[in-house]
Symmetry: C2
């Protein structure tokens, strides 16, 4: 997927996520962007959809929130599975990749003729600072 110019709405949403320490919900993003003319949830969800397609944003399924990709330059989604740790105290998210886990899950799927699409790995707990 080649680099591409983002639209105004997409850029605003990505900036909001990039500027945030913790993941943001769609409605929190909406509130942050009211001053920029955002008025409806759909403006946020549409931008998020596109940014996810581009691999610039990830959705954290277990907390209904979104984060900017930690290394968008590496074309995150194409180099495989993305996993996250999520601190339940401070909200800090760490994104990581592990080939062994990737292969292990792929093998399990292959053994059962299951054709995998998107895979979610999320570890909720407490980070070093919040221990």
């Amino acid at each position: 997927m080649t680099v591409q110019q983002l639209t105004r709405n997409q850029a605003l949403v990505l900036d909001a996520l990039s500027a945030s320490e913790a993941p943001l919900s769609a409605y929190t993003i909406l509130d942050k962007l009211r001053g920029d003319g955002f008025r409806a949830p759909l403006q946020v969800y549409r931008a998020l959809d596109k940014l996810q397609d581009l691999g610039l944003v990830h959705r954290l399924e277990s907390i209904n929130a979104f984060v900017a990709c930690a290394h968008p330059d590496q074309d995150c989604c194409s180099h495989g599975l993305t996993a996250f740790t999520i601190c339940e105290s401070c909200g800090k998210v760490t994104e990581f990749h592990d080939h062994m886990i990737e292969e292990r899950l792929a093998a399990f799927a292959s053994d059962r003729n299951f054709r995998p699409g998107k895979t979610t790995i999320e570890i909720r707990g407490h980070c070093a600072g919040c221990a």
Copy 2:
């Protein structure tokens, strides 16, 4: 955690999930149990919370739905991480456990002084029958 008698509501919710081929949302369960006197979402959510505590039910974070544990006799939650494949065509869910993945994730967390709580692994895709 020792075996314990379920209450009527808890038993009804577990039966509904056990009888279903596919995972069910809380509101779908509510509708199925209206004939048994269920009237409000909270009746379902409370039973689900308890059943999850007991390791008899799992929540699928990526689809906002719930499934009965595939092997409740083994005290599912205590013998580690639970992972799922979820067919996006027919809804079939397969629950599995993998020690290598478990150890790998534990090692990652340990390296970073991250104290893990609940971990989610969900592979969405298409099962053999729906390929």
